[in-house]
């Protein structure tokens, strides 16, 4: 229901962002900007070893340094039963190491000092007696029978195996492969990368010794869930914990988990009776906080000779690091990887996954993606391109032949998702038209004739976001639902309180637009409050593109609830029965007498001054939304690249992105989200890599080693849209923040592989650095 009025700037309007007014003036409030009287500073000592026994920790020299207030070790934490904490994946994670260290960068001790420089000085004065053990840096090695056991803390644990998990129908899939004319397979490693929001993680913990009230400013994407976890872990009464996520400098999944630093700072504040600030350095962020991907995948596609896809089989090995701390719905060990059948009508599919411990940082998060959807999307889109080559069919044609047709929605996939709506063909047609696909293929032929390496890559992704319905989707038992609370003030202005919060997505603007659409108050007259658990309704937070699908729906529904009452008040003011009142764009009118009207502002005032006898005064409501289904954004991305055969350097010539995220609330913000996602997708495809040497040293521990795209490398994007509303979402929106990161890596890689195809190159694992591309060219030439 897009606005059909110019007056109310609801859905479909590129309203300029209200949050910008403070940011452009340098007046945001990020966690590091919070300064409290008597505040102390915390620094964390981290392990230099990937795997080592701790024989002893001597903190006496650090303790003696002038300005040091306390040194916290695992032993002290253990006295308060806080040396270990639960993870979202029902494992445990060391808060401060007691027995051994299990990855480089693991938290070993913390110094609390009057000054942050002194706290860091003191770290160098802590003597830890380490006894190095064999580090395990691959999951393959981890699962060998003679591999040392990493989790010796777990009673009876004799190996590094974490889980086996499967989805889909194994027998039906095996049958499909037995009957296939053609089987195409791909082994690919989606390497470890890191979300790297520009602001690192941190907190200011302020536990009042007199009242026991704990107020914690925290870089969190999920403040409510974290409050509950803190209550359960620390045994603090939940009503005395207030988590405030103020302005957040980007999240991308990195700020979903609970990190040891939060726990230690809070414990230190509790023990010392003073506020404690802890702000990570960039290296700490890169080596110890939630990473992404690290999936070794084997995929096979069964096809008929004519290109009809009949089955998909995947086995994958997940490197989970030292503690299984994936932040994802509890019932899904590899997140929503089951979306791997993508946009295709695949009658049979099966995924078998195994997880292993290694001596690497824990905390698999979905770097701008809805729980492992990126890995799934990458695998199917790479497989489809290779299948097209092997069958001699154009990759666009093979996709078209196998798309779920638009008249088959709702469509149940072979792994049990019910896709809400889609028109994959339309999105692809637009992308091909915009990039001039047929022309490009001709240009490619000409370029190849001249010995140039010119490639065109496509990706037609389908995402699954908006978790989710409470029977299936929970984190540590908490249903993945969200609340919204709307209060209309007597003057017709409003405050909306939401359970999700922005890390740059623009909730303060777009959520006001949803309210504006539903009740006709201008967005600038609606304050959107978020990120403060004392002052907003409960909900699971902003990640996995769930804000619009879940909390956006709650916002529409709460506004409708308020509107129902407003209709009654309007009927009272207009002296007609409620059935005779019509509502449109903020105006209530009498059916058949359109000149008799009251505005929402009139009604708001009446709610506090002139309401009907027997009616409860006021105009506000709360609504908790349990989505009936997930939403399934989709699109087609098309990339043209040229590869320099002498250097392996590849440049993006064109990048067209057609997205269908259902109804768009604010087109300007949607496009901004897509730009950002395409850039992060490009970074992942081209340069971002967290890797480890054989000793378990993290390579990628600063922005000199962990490369991020700058404005110079980043491609220019050309966007397009189709709109297929979600039938079950109150405003038809699906979510868009992550589509581009999910869909684009395969498009970039497909383009480079397409360029190298004449040489016989069929795969290069990301990141496609020029060195790797060059090596692939050399290897192919050596084979030729």
């Amino acid at each position: 229901m897009a606005s059909d009025t110019e007056q109310i700037r609801g859905l479909g309007h590129s309203v300029r962002r209200v949050e910008d007014d403070r940011f452009i003036r340098g007046k945001g409030t990020y966690v590091d900007d919070v300064k409290l009287p008597g505040m102390l500073h915390m620094a964390i000592l981290r392990s230099p070893y990937a795997h080592a026994k701790i024989n002893g920790i001597d903190a006496s020299r650090a303790q003696a340094l002038d300005g040091v207030v306390a040194v916290v070790t695992g032993e002290l934490m253990a006295q308060h039963n806080l040396a270990w904490m639960p993870t979202p994946s029902y494992d445990t994670q060391a808060v401060l190491a007691t027995d051994k260290v299990r990855f480089q960068g693991q938290e070993v001790a913390a110094v609390i000092a009057e000054d942050p420089y002194v706290a860091k000085d003191a770290l160098e004065l802590i003597d830890v007696d380490y006894e190095p053990l064999e580090p395990i840096v691959t999951p393959q090695r981890a699962l060998e029978p003679d591999a040392p056991v990493i989790r010796t803390d777990k009673e009876g644990k004799t190996d590094n195996h974490i889980y086996d998990w499967e989805t889909g129908d194994r027998e039906a899939t095996d049958r499909a492969f037995a009957e296939a004319d053609k089987v195409v397979s791909l082994d690919t490693f989606y390497p470890r990368c890191h979300p790297s929001p520009l602001e690192t993680c941190g907190c200011v913990a302020d536990v009042n010794p007199a009242t026991g009230q704990a107020t914690i400013w925290m870089t969190s994407q999920a403040p409510h869930a974290i409050r509950t976890v803190f209550a359960l872990v620390a045994g603090l009464p939940e009503e005395k914990i207030r988590i405030i996520s103020p302005d957040i400098g980007g999240g991308f999944g990195n700020k979903v988990p609970v990190y040891p630093g939060y726990v230690v700072a809070t414990a230190a504040s509790l023990l010392l009776g003073r506020p404690v600030k802890w702000i990570e350095e960039r290296t700490e962020n890169l080596i110890s906080t939630g990473f992404a991907r690290d999936f070794h995948m084997h995929g096979e596609l069964a096809l008929k000779a004519d290109g009809t896809m009949t089955g998909l089989r995947v086995s994958l090995l997940a490197d989970e690091g030292a503690f299984h701390a994936d932040a994802q719905p509890s019932k899904f060990k590899v997140g929503l990887f089951g979306i791997v059948s993508g946009s295709y009508d695949l009658p049979a599919a099966h995924v078998a996954a195994t997880g292993a411990y290694t001596n690497k940082a824990p905390g698999g998060v979905a770097y701008r993606c809805s729980f492992r959807v990126t890995e799934a999307s990458y695998l199917i889109e790479r497989l489809v391109q290779n299948a097209a080559y092997e069958l001699g069919i154009d990759p666009a044609e093979l996709r078209k032949k196998n798309f779920v047709p638009k008249d088959r929605f709702p469509y149940e996939s072979a792994t049990g998702f019910v896709y809400d709506s889609g028109d994959y063909q339309a999105a692809m047609d637009l992308a091909l038209e915009k990039i001039g696909y047929a022309e490009l293929r001709k240009e490619q032929e000409e370029a190849r004739a001249q010995g140039k390496l010119y490639g065109i890559g496509l990706a037609s992704f389908t995402e699954v976001v908006g978790a989710g319905p409470h029977h299936q989707y929970d984190i540590l038992g908490l249903a993945m639902n969200d609340g919204a609370e709307l209060r209309i003030h007597p003057t017709g202005k409003a405050i909306l309180k939401i359970s999700v919060q922005t890390q740059g997505q623009g909730h303060e603007t777009t959520f006001a637009q949803i309210v504006a659409e539903e009740i006709g108050i201008q967005p600038e007259d609606i304050k959107v409050m978020h990120g403060d658990t004392d002052n907003t309704p409960y909900g699971l937070g902003t990640y996995a593109s769930r804000s619009t699908p879940v909390s956006g729906a709650a916002t529409a529904m709460v506004t409708r609830r308020v509107r129902e009452k407003a209709m009654k008040i309007a009927a009272h003011l207009l002296e007609v029965s409620e059935e005779d009142v019509e509502f449109h764009a903020g105006t209530f009118s009498v059916r058949g007498a359109p000149d008799r009207t009251k505005t929402i502002q009139d009604v708001a005032l009446a709610a506090y001054t002139n309401f009907p006898d027997g009616m409860e005064p006021g105009l506000e409501a709360v609504y908790y939304y349990d989505p009936p289904n997930l939403t399934f954004p989709f699109g087609t991305y098309a990339v043209a690249v040229e590869v320099d055969p002498d250097t392996g350097v590849w440049e993006v010539r064109r990048m067209v992105a057609v997205d269908d995220c259902g109804v768009r609330i604010n087109p300007m913000i949607v496009e901004g989200q897509i730009h950002g996602g395409l850039t992060e997708g490009y970074g992942i495809a081209a340069m971002e890599l967290i890797t480890f040497d054989e000793d378990g040293n993290c390579i990628g521990a600063n922005f000199t080693d962990y490369l991020l795209p700058t404005a110079v490398e980043t491609p220019r994007f050309e966007l397009g849209e189709t709109v297929t509303p979600s039938p079950h979402h109150p405003i038809g929106a699906k979510g868009v923040g992550e589509s581009a990161t999910v869909g684009s890596p395969a498009a970039y890689v497909n383009a480079v592989i397409d360029a190298l195809r004449p040489l016989g190159v069929t795969n290069i694992d990301m990141p496609l650095t020029s060195a790797k591309v060059w090596q692939a060219i050399q290897d192919a030439k050596a084979l030729a």
């Binding site: 340098g26 520009l198 404005a711």
Partner: protein
Amino acid sequence: MEITVTVNGVERTADVEPRLLLVHLIREVFGLTGTHIGCDTSGCGACTVLLDGTPVKSCTMFGVQADGRAITTVEGLMQDGELHPVQAAFKEHHGLQCGYCTPGMMLVGAALIQDNPMPSDDEVRVAISGNICRCTGYMNIVKAIQAAAQASSGATVDA
């Protein structure tokens, strides 16, 4: 040691440790928190300020090195209660999302358009190549800086 720095046009003195980083001088001593810290190693540009009109990364300079010099931070961009053209353009063209890189980006943009009143897309991109943005994908930042160049026609940054 005691230093004197002109900060956004106002002379400030401070007694600081020689090892105090310029970014901490600005944030902790002068209380101007619009300058952010992103990477500690001059890799991201979130801490960019103008030193005598030239962009520098304040995480990689000592505060004492600013003695006797003039600094402009994001808080100094507004003049006479009016937004600098770069500030207005960043909002108008959606050149920011989380806002964390924004002060550094705007200061580099402001310095650029003072030297080059009509920068091309490529020139803007080279100018901001020391500043990482994780949210926007840069296109709207480039657009904003170019729009500010057009709008400014003589607007200057005091330093």
